[in-house]
Assembly symmetry: C2
Homo-oligomer: 472 residues x 2
């Protein structure tokens, strides 16, 4: 996979050397020779990855990394620190500045390219989602509906014990951070018993386990539910080829054995946070789909949902010749409530009626706000008699208890009128059914409101139009 790479180093010879290596592999290369230049290049060229020298005069690599990761517009760009330093404390400092990885000078080509490929692949997967989040935010969908991600909330770690001699102290270190840790003995056990939904991170060790840890990683990655779950692999530092293979198989990050606990803490937090961020990007889709079929005032489904749902219900019931009914429910004198008490109070009335309607329908029926003060309930496999009783029960329920509203106002007595229409599923369109229900509703209104009227059957439409049932 190709990528645009920003190389930052204060020594021109280092820049040239790295640039040449990358160009041979067809990467696009942008260069910078100090911190401020690097930050400008990040903004201007939007690289896929930054290879960042640590020791530079003026602004050092840690500071550059912090600046990149501290800016919401650039925080997603992976930063690899290229350093002659090889102390744990240096690595931990880099991780805390937000670095995604370290490469030690002189650079080993296999390690370099394996790491670039892996980070670019992970970035590409979320690039598309991030681009779409921008659209959603622009239209006010995502910001208003997605839960806020708590960056500091601890996560849940699945620890594969096999081959990890220091599993107890590793587990304790993670638990001390607040993470919940579940230990299973082997990869097979993990696949059989663990549910991907329960975990934010998988931690395992390679090279000293009874099975092949890379085989297990491959198995995880070929199952959709585990595909995007972060994997952190501990392995022997000397085996660059094996690390390259593990990265190619899709592990997210690694630790060199013996595991340094400060590094374990930093890397596991990085992975857990990234997972949360990416989950949220993906969830935007679900949120916006849900928002598209939901009425924002009452939280009920809307007309759009009813239309597609009706088609599915008819497909299912039509073959069996089962009946289907709609209740067309309208709040009586709603305009007066709005005029007298204002829209806020009107909205509260609608919310309250919506709740009563929803509580009243069976789980397999569907209640929607159809518009204004009109609700529709779709009753599946329901004869006209059954639908009439349901409507009558609902009508009584609403009129029995006045609606409490905020402010210095008494509870408001509200009634509804309901038109009921029934058909054999599949023999009438939703529009036709609702039109008949509407006419029945109109008769209910004319007959004095707070009542239920059944529509005449579709065939007898020219005859008597409807028959009053409930009355009050």
């Amino acid at each position: 996979m190709t990528a645009r790479i920003l190389v930052v180093d204060d020594l021109p010879v280092n820049v040239k050397l790295l640039e040449a290596k990358l160009l041979v592999e067809y990467y696009e290369v942008v260069t910078a020779s100090n911190g401020p230049e690097a930050l400008r290049a990040v903004r201007e060229h939007n690289p896929d990855i930054v290879l960042l020298d640590v020791m530079m005069p003026g602004m050092d690599g840690y500071q550059v990394c912090e600046a990149i990761k501290g800016d919401p517009d650039t925080a997603h760009i992976p930063v690899v620190m290229v350093t002659a330093l090889d102390e744990v404390s240096d690595r931990v400092r880099g991780l805390e500045a937000g670095a995604d990885d370290f490469l030690t000078k002189p650079l080993n080509d296999i390690a370099l390219f394996a790491r670039i490929r892996s980070l670019v692949r992970l970035k590409r997967a979320s690039d598309e989602w991030r681009a779409r989040e921008a659209t959603a935010v622009e239209l006010g969908v995502s910001s208003s509906m997605c839960p806020v991600v708590d960056e500091k909330a601890p996560g849940s770690v699945l620890l594969i014990g096999d081959g990890m001699a220091d599993r107890e102290s590793v587990g304790k270190t993670l638990a001390d951070q607040g993470h919940s840790v579940t230990v299973v003995e082997t990869g097979e056990e993990a696949l059989e018993q663990a549910s991907a939904d329960d975990f934010d991170l998988v931690l395992l060790s390679d090279g000293e386990s009874s099975g092949d840890a890379l085989r297990f990683c491959s198995q995880l990655r070929s199952q959709p539910e585990w595909r995007t779950k972060p994997i952190l692999l501990a392995l022997a530092g000397s085996d660059t080829e094996r690390l390259a293979k593990a990265l190619e198989l899709g592990i997210n990050d690694y630790l060199v054995r013996p595991i340094e606990h400060d590094e374990l803490i930093a890397r596991s937090w990085t992975q857990i946070r990234r997972k949360r961020y990416e989950d949220r990007l993906r969830d935007n889709f679900t949120y916006s789909v849900n928002a598209a079929v939901t009425d924002s005032l009452t939280g009920m489904y809307n007309r759009r949902y009813l239309e597609s749902h009706f088609a599915r219900v008819c497909d299912r019931l039509g073959a069996a010749g089962k009946p289907i009914s709609v209740l067309v429910i309208d709040v009586d004198h709603f305009k007066l409530i709005n005029d007298q008490f204002g829209h806020d109070t009107g909205d509260q009335v609608l919310q309250s009626i919506a709740k009563r309607v929803q509580n009243d329908v069976r789980g397999f029926d569907t209640a929607v706000r159809y518009g204004g003060e009109e609700f529709i309930v779709l009753l599946t496999d329901s004869s006209q008699d059954a639908a009439l009783s349901a409507a009558e029960r609902l009508r009584m329920q609403v009129s029995a208890t006045p609606v409490p509203v905020s402010g210095p106002i008494d509870d408001i007595a509200v009634t509804v009128s309901i038109g009921v229409a029934t058909a054999v599923a599949g023999q009438e369109s939703l529009d036709e059914l609702i039109q008949r229900g509407d006419r029945a509703l109109y008769d209910a209104k004319n007959a004095g409101r707070n009542r239920v009227v059944a529509a005449a059957a579709a065939e007898r439409d020219s005859g008597i139009s409807s028959a009053a049932v409930g009355q009050n």
Copy 2:
């Protein structure tokens, strides 16, 4: 990247050989020894790729491929035909059956793994979108709103002429298929002049061009707008390493020079169709986000949009101390229209009024359907006087021309009442502003309807509540 691979061959020794090769590279392997078994395995194991022998007793590879590609649930799984046949006619037959590629026995490892990696990577990118489409379809968002993809609509091809000696006959073959073909001389020209939006496919040739075709592919792939655009590369058949590199860089498919025109036709159609399919998957997101902020009856923005939009407008105008106004517009006696002519006619009236409101607002103002028969227009940087004239103009516009409706009914005379409220941006919440507008609307209704009333300023709320302006 790991993957689950289904190997289909009637000779056990071939299956074993291929399985062993794949296992060493940590792929998961499933096997089948004939056509019906293969189709069962596809359904049961949901592989990421199928390596399919062509010549099998009973159901042959072409038939198996057709069955996989003919089933909407499995059509997205890449199929590579593994064959001893090497005639163009065999390849074309396979492509027409829906095959994604061919590998010739005996298998060359570099070609095998390069092709697997490339196909799996392309599949992964759309896997996530496909999973989400299922959610959208379930809720009725995607089926009801996305345009239908026309599988047979020709596409638009960008042909890079440099290094393609037979460019004229290639262009003619594509044009004969109905595709529109744009020829540019070099990759640089393409990057400078062509806009990614205009093309469904990029076709270029490697090895005889003045520049490096792979470098150009890499440049295309590192630009977001070209990233998912299909690239079809013609290259010398002998250079497996070069092909592997091209696949690694992200080309989608290739042709061996000299270009066989039947194969060109088949492969270009495959790429154009796949692009359309993937565009649609991605568009689902945009559609559902749009649907979430749109009123389905009128196509106007809805209350959800107004809320987020208001916050952004206030951020922008508030700093400069600029005024902001809302018009709260309500259709007079709408209930009577609904009762007298039915909901259908009522809906037509709302749609017509919505159109008049939308046509009347300036490009940077925002009109939404707020609920029922109420519309709200947000006027940015607009004083109360300006807002009153806008409201008065709209009121006159509506009352001047009766609304035409379908059926044997005369055009319906409709009027609106409008309440206008103005504030300095950022000093009042949307709710407060609308509440003041609502009270003015209430006064307009009480004063006889078909008129505009300005709300008193927020500070003087306890005094005179509003002042009539327009009247009729």
